[in-house]
Amino acid sequence: MELYTLLKLIWAALLCVLLIGLGLMVGMDMGVGTLLRFVGRNDGERRTALNIIGPHWDGNQVWFILGGGAIFAAFPTLYATSFSVFYVVMILLLFSMILRPVAFEYRSKADSHLWRASWDWAFLISGFLPMFIYGAAFGNILHGVGFHFGWTGQYYQDNSFFSYLLNPFAILCGLMSVALSVYQGGIMLMLRAENPIYDRARRYAIRGGLTAAVLFSLGGFFIARMKGFVFTAPVNPAMPASPMHGQHVDMVAGGWLHNYAAHPALWLLPILGLACMIGGTQAARMNKAVLAWWIGLGSWIGTIGTVAAAMFPFFMPSTTAPDQSLTIWNSSASAYGLTCMLVVALIFVPIILCYTSWCYYVMRGKVRTADIVNDSHSY
């Protein structure tokens, strides 16, 4: 294998890790945001829920920022095209994402009921909407998107954004992503809250896990019938990263299952996902919150892994110009750029993991409503 191919593969794998980390960590915080109004019946309870993720949400959100940054740096053509093609959806995602930091910092800094109730709604929107769009984006990408490139490399959009919003499979994927985030948020609340928040959170976590399992299975049937994308001529993985030349692609019904047919071991990924979604709810029923939290990681690995295994090596296929579909091979950065960032990542990711774990260690333990209300530094 050529070095350039290997670099592209490493970065595609790292991107998967980031997407899993994003789903798990940001999803957890957003799940708490979505559940805030339901697990907390009064102001003290809601503040307790907020302060459980209070010290960590900002650090967790960097998964999201880093996901965007990594796509930009490692797959610039994918970043440039996907963010523009999904413009309206991306802007909605952005609006809901920027509500959140402000809501955390501002909500409890004034006493007015209207003020706090408004920010509670902001938490609901900024928890539900981004996770929905995150999932729906995967749904749309699996379907294929309408775009092509001109000779300078400028992209042109061939579909209106309504086709991305009103698409049953995308809606299903969006709801599944929300369900997983509700599960993870509920489990996090179980870990660090006491009754009555604990009981309510447990109920929602179980519902979230089961809903995710049902939607995940339904999604499998959709994918099996859907038109997938396949190469009609051999492609050089080490090709210069340009979407304009070098690929011949066709759309084939059931095409997304070709990788599974060629490598049956890949079926372990959807099995892992489904098993974790069901097993996680069981762990929650048995009040084993720590176990359930780690099982949540398995659900995300299974989900993202299933999609990645189906699509490999496609990133964002084009329905209107299939030859210009974005793949791992044609949308990456240069070998030089990928190498530089790999060195940086190898140095800093272990450091990041160390200090993130340390922060969780320092802030460990149950959060009590009485303490929150008396602490003017809390959210």
Binding site: V62, P101, G337, V344, H377
Partner: protein, 538 residues
């Protein structure tokens, strides 16, 4: 090549400028306040005097209100390169994305993770442990600025990359050149130190407000003194580094310098005046009136007395041959993309250095296709393209001057304030106290003008001399832009209203507001100078 609707390009520029200027209202304060908090907490840890912990906690609260908006509006910036500048991101992402990703890994992650401990960890960490966390937040936010400005310097001086005809983009090839770009280094220090001025003046201004009202006098006087000293050092640094940056631009971006100075014709050293005020007319390419200080321009820019500074008319004339060569380059590149003939590639390689000027000319070519320019019209297309190489002179000229005038004012204000504070004559000087209070927003305004100077002066390029702005935008419809602009206007207005409400609320409440959580230790008896014990209001 289909040209993107010019209205959409303008709206995309407007949206980017609006959101970047807005983001940049909060970032400078974050950069400076973190270091001031670290300094206050250091004094607390070393001396054990609780008043310094209260200072760190109180100013920390204002920091938090500001920080949240800095983080929130920063997400917008990361999105917008992709959502609105698709061609730019694809063309320059290989180089531009790298510093952004490193920023996330090295700086933003650290800052964001530790900021949680900084707010929540007071009772869970040892004194030294918490101090270390505060320093890590300060380090993280400043490293973050470093990497962002390295990326920005790449747009202005794209050293460390080459154009690749196979991928139709700039390929990254010089990590060391990118990070040690003199432009990046000077920009980083200049910008972050400008942030320290914003923070210093905020602390001074709020402290002045307390002193004027006779509240929290110990607390306010100590905060004021620290801020004044921090401010005067920062102002000296900002002016020095501004000069270094100007000299870098003079070497690398002569059009920017000529526009900043309103210099239409090459200067005549040594007499050439530095224009204090003028009314530059971009359409007629002249200044309507000029007030200048003789003999200042040449030493200011060239650091000697006899180097002529090239004027904008001369720069336009020098661009003529480059535009002609660039047209050949673009035409050859286009043919090469369609047929992959070696002859076209060779021809392109011979004219590659002028590619950007060829792109610039596409705007004046029939159907944006330079190959379709009839031979007899070539000279007229070149003549039409020449003025396009200049930025908007009026905007560049005035934003630079307003920034400089404000910096000089800060120098005077900090010098007087520091002197009065050290001599303990501050509280009698209500005029200076009022000036400090009313000047709180001015450093933020000055940094905004600095940003406008740098980025408006970079025009008409997104990647200097290579990729024109009008080619860089995403090909959206106008309705998309109206949707996003309306959303930004609404959300950002709500945010700024909420931020100002909380800032004023907590500034008015003063440093006592959080004592409830930690017991009211009456430090007035212990530390206050006799007769001025107002520090604790309980």
């Amino acid at each position: 090549m289909d040209m993107i609707n010019p209205t959409v390009v303008d709206l995309s520029r407007f949206q980017f400028a609006l959101t970047a200027l807005y983001h940049f209202m909060f970032v400078p304060l974050t950069l400076g306040l973190t270091f001031m908090l670290a300094a206050m907490e250091t004094v607390y840890v070393v001396t054990g005097r609780k008043i310094y912990k209260d200072m760190a906690m109180f100013w920390g609260k204002l920091f938090g209100i500001n920080f949240a908006l800095g983080v929130a509006t920063g997400i917008t910036m990361e999105f917008e390169f992709g959502t609105n500048w698709s061609m730019y991101s694809r063309f320059f992402g290989d180089m531009f994305g790298t510093p952004l990703a490193i920023e996330g890994l090295m700086a933003f992650f650290m800052e964001s993770t530790f900021v949680g401990l900084m707010f929540f960890g007071w009772d869970r960490l040892s004194k030294q442990g918490h101090l270390a966390v505060t320093y890590l937040v300060a380090l993280g936010s400043n490293l973050s600025a470093l990497w962002i400005l390295i990326a920005n310097a790449g747009m202005n001086v794209p050293h460390g990359s080459h154009f690749d005809p196979e991928t139709m983009r700039l390929q990254f090839d010089g990590f060391v050149k990118l990070i040690f770009s003199p432009d990046a280094q000077a920009k980083f220090v200049h910008t972050s130190v400008a942030g320290y001025i914003s923070a210093a003046l905020l602390v001074m201004g709020v402290s002045a407000f307390y002193l004027l009202r006779g509240q929290h006098r110990q607390f306010a006087a100590r905060s004021f003194r620290m801020a004044a000293l921090f401010g005067i050092i920062s102002t000296v640094a900002v002016i020095t580094l501004g000069d270094v940056l100007g000299r870098e631009d003079y070497m690398e971006q002569p059009t920017k310098i000529a526009a900043i100075e309103g210099l239409w014709h090459t200067s005549k050293p040594p007499y050439e005046p530095w224009i204090l005020a003028a009314l530059p007319d971009d359409a007629k390419q002249e200044n309507h009136f000029e007030i200048g200080v003789p003999f200042v321009l040449t030493p200011l820019i060239a650091h000697d007395f006899n180097t002529p500074i090239i004027g904008m008319h001369e720069l336009e004339d020098a661009a003529g041959p480059r535009i002609e060569s660039g047209i050949t380059a673009v035409a050859a590149l286009h043919r090469y993309q369609e047929t992959h003939q070696q002859a076209d590639l060779d021809l392109f390689k011979a004219h590659e250095a002028d590619l950007g000027f060829g792109f610039l000319a596409t705007r004046h070519a029939p159907n944006q296709d330079v190959a379709a320019i009839p031979a007899e019209n070539l000279q007229s297309v070149i003549a039409q393209t020449k003025p396009d190489i200049l930025p908007n002179v009026f905007v560049t000229f005035w934003s630079f001057r307003l920034m400089v005038f404000l910096a000089l004012y800060f120098f005077a204000l900090f010098a007087i304030s520091a002197y009065l504070s050290l001599k303990n004559k501050l509280e009698r000087n209500t005029l200076i106290l009022k000036a400090c209070m009313w000047s709180i927003p001015l450093p933020i305004l000055a940094t905004e003008f600095g940003w406008i100077t740098a980025e408006a002066g970079r025009q008409p390029w997104t990647v200097f001399n290579i990729l024109p702005t009008f080619m860089s935008a995403s090909s959206h419809s106008t309705s998309y832009m109206v949707f996003s602009l309306a959303g930004f206007a609404l959300l950002y207005s709500i945010f700024i209203a909420a931020e100002l409400y909380l800032m004023f609320k907590f500034a008015r409440l003063g440093p006592d507001s959080h004592d409830t959580a930690h017991g009211t230790e009456d430090y007035t008896a212990q530390y206050a100078v006799a007769g001025t014990s107002h520090a604790s209001g309980h």
